[in-house]
């Protein structure tokens, strides 16, 4: 479907708005050339590259945690599987790095399906607890499986093979771009609507012909794959990985923190969360390293109690305060406030055309209809634990 103004020129897919596309291309372009235009220095350059990876991982975690509403405390399992498969392929078969990342990612995605398909039937906290079990069991088995992971000694990639940390900036950028595109697509397309329906009320969703199992598995697979690719990226970046670090509970927690503090359920919130995560680590905590745990804890508490949509929500509030009405397509590129909460509700579920919505009212915390306010009442309304 096209709008009249563009019918002669460019046909965009239904879920993509021109504004979003333009913002994306501009942002991508800017980030691509930034290292040449700005004198970042090696260190910052590398840090930013690594941040791109964290952003991608946070976004991928959010597809499961925010879009589907199932909080995973075990995503390190996929991160580790992706990383070790990639490293093992590089060491034992000499495959080029991008192939190792892809294969690592896909295997991680399949692993996610393996444990996720049966556990996704669980709701709310039970699923989350199961993911903790999966994460820890994976860590223990991986540490034991010396032939594959090197056991507690880990694996070292040959120095000189693969991309340099300098080049990884751009590969990180590609990874992030892919994650952003997927985030936007998953949210804005029919799949996104199906996911929202599932999150609201599983039974009702299947009554109207939405197959919860299929959609959840799809998202789980994508989420696991992208996080697995991030693991491969991390392996290339560090050139040495070991199971304790890759599969640790702390690492799983970092994905949760990035997602929740950034804005669970929003399109780009987790990307902001990743930036905060890295910025905190690098700068604030360099002076007070003994406070980092407590700081994240406080942030988490503050977010849950006061702003369930995290940084994203905060920005949306500020935008509304200053009179700007976020339109639905503002959810797309860059870091502008995420999707207007009621955009999809006021558009009936069957016409995904972006239509200028009426002013969105403040989404009440916990409101059933507040589709965007998925950090609050969304995930568990009408669903108790199994």
């Amino acid at each position: 479907m096209t709008t009249t103004a563009q019918s002669r020129r460019v046909r965009l897919p239904a879920w993509l708005s021109m504004k979003a596309l333009i913002l994306f291309v501009v942002a991508f372009g800017l980030l691509y050339v930034a290292p040449f235009a700005l004198a970042l220095g090696d260190y910052l350059h590398n840090i930013v590259g690594l941040t791109f990876m964290f952003m991608a991982a946070g976004l991928a975690w959010n597809w499961l945690g925010g879009y589907v509403g199932q909080i995973s405390f075990g995503h390190a399992a996929m991160f580790g599987v992706g990383g070790f498969v990639a490293a093992r392929l590089a060491i034992s078969f000499g495959l080029p790095f991008w192939a190792t990342w892809m294969i690592g990612g896909i295997i991680a995605g399949l692993y996610a399906l393996l444990w996720g398909h049966p556990t996704l039937r669980l709701r709310g906290p039970y699923f989350s607890i199961a993911t903790i079990g999966v994460g820890e069991a994976t860590r223990l088995v991986a540490t034991y499986w010396t032939d594959f992971t090197g056991g507690s000694s880990g694996l070292s990639l040959p120095i000189g093979d693969g991309p340099t940390k300098f080049a990884l900036y751009w590969y990180g950028l590609y990874l992030l771009a892919a994650a952003v595109i997927l985030s936007y697509w998953l949210r804005k397309s029919r799949i996104g609507l199906a996911l929202l329906a599932i999150k609201e009320d599983v039974e009702a969703a299947s009554d109207v012909g939405v197959n919860p199992s299929f959609y959840q598995d799809l998202v789980l697979f994508l989420s696991g794959t992208v996080v697995g690719v991030c693991g491969g990226f991390y392996a290339s970046y560090q050139a040495f990985i070991d199971p304790l670090d890759m599969f640790s509970f702390e690492r799983s927690i970092s994905f949760v923190l990035i997602g929740v503090i950034g804005g669970i359920g929003t399109i780009l919130g987790p990307a902001m969360g990743a930036i905060v995560f890295v910025v905190l680590q690098e700068f604030l905590l360099a002076s007070y390293p003994q406070l980092y745990l407590g700081l994240y804890g406080v942030l988490l508490i503050v977010v849950i109690l006061f702003e369930p949509l995290g940084l994203s929500g905060l920005l949306m509030r500020l935008a509304r305060r200053f009179g700007r009405k976020p339109s639905p397509s503002a959810a797309s590129g860059g870091l502008s406030p995420a999707a207007s909460p009621n955009a999809s509700v006021s558009d009936p579920a069957l016409t995904p055309d972006p239509v200028d919505p009426p002013d969105p009212p403040d989404p009440p915390v916990g409101a059933v209809g507040a589709v965007g306010a998925v950090g609050a009442g969304g995930p568990d309304v009408k669903r108790g634990p199994a």
């Binding site: 039937r121 607890i129 199961a130 999966v134 088995v141 745990l293 508490i301 609050a376």
Partner: protein, 291 residues
């Protein structure tokens, strides 16, 4: 055969400690439907309190139990009134409570690091390596004491829930909080009370842990996860169910050595957790209501 018996007794003793870990978590979840991820942090904090009382004031850990439990009761009530109360009640609050209390756990851990540094601490009383003979084998006196105290706790808890007014009110609220309000039960007060009792039980577990293990601020995450396994295994049907869940877990861990390399016996609990959740989400025995 003597070996199997010896291992079985070890497993039973271990179950005593495991059960003490799980009561508090189970009670809070059963009544409030809140997953207390700060539970591990509470256990760790109680272990440190016990250590401080022992090293500074020479109070024996077992004697310190009542003190610690009272302190943690009030900590629990404060946590409820200050934080948990603000979350949406019921199912909607499930995941949020998870995350909120996880944040609390991070904060507690950091405070412990600041106060005590990351060094391992241990409580050594004059009887820390004493042993007790049972059926021809010797077992650590501490583990036997822990087991006995755990049994006592079960009985007291069970009595409280079935015989006292407040206990019955707690059960009523678990079944149906709205009708409980209708019959005049102050639900909010009961929630606070339950959270306090649950935290006090975590305090108990912490003191018991301090007599058995060395600990540091990271202590508690393994205990927390095992508590989940136990609650899932035993269901929330009854306090006794938790005891049974603890036995299942401890036996699985101890006897797994006959089936898998000893390193992987640590994974047994987690695998059990996932399998049971997938196969029988309401636990092996229990229903969803605290009987």
């Amino acid at each position: 055969m003597g070996q199997v018996l010896a291992l079985a007794i070890s497993a039973v003793l271990l179950a005593g400690f495991y059960a003490s870990m799980a009561y508090g978590l189970g009670l809070i979840y059963g009544v409030l439907r809140v997953v207390n991820l700060a539970h591990g942090g509470m256990i760790m904090a109680a272990a440190y309190l016990s250590w401080v009382l022992f090293t500074r004031f020479s109070i024996d850990p077992y004697l310190a139990i009542p003190v610690v439990m009272v302190v943690f009761f009030f900590v629990g009530v404060a946590m409820y009134k200050g934080l948990v109360r603000h979350l949406p009640r019921g199912a909607a609050g499930g995941v949020q409570s998870l995350l909120l209390l996880f944040g609390v756990w991070l904060v507690i851990r950091n405070i412990a690091y600041l106060l005590f540094t990351g060094d391992d601490q241990a409580v050594r009383t004059s009887y820390s390596t004493a042993s007790v003979p049972i059926f021809g084998n010797s077992y650590s006196l501490n583990r036997v004491l822990v087991f006995v105290i755990s049994l006592v706790a079960v009985s007291v808890l069970q009595l409280w829930l079935s015989r006292t007014y407040t206990g019955k009110a707690v059960r009523a609220v678990t079944e149906n909080s709205d009708s409980s309000t209708l019959v005049g039960i102050d639900v909010e007060r009961l929630y606070a009370l339950t959270f306090g009792v649950g935290t006090a039980l975590a305090g108990l577990a912490g003191v018991l842990a301090s007599t058995l293990f060395a600990f540091n601020p990271s202590f508690g995450s393994g205990e927390l996860l095992k508590s989940f396994v136990i609650i899932v295994l035993g269901g929330l049907g009854s306090v006794v169910g938790i005891g049974i869940g603890a036995l299942v877990l401890s036996f699985a861990e101890v006897f797994a050595i006959y089936a898998v390399p000893s390193y992987l016996t640590a994974a047994v609990g987690f695998v059990l957790l996932v399998v049971v959740l997938v196969v029988r989400p309401s636990g092996l025995f229990g229903s969803k209501v605290l009987r």
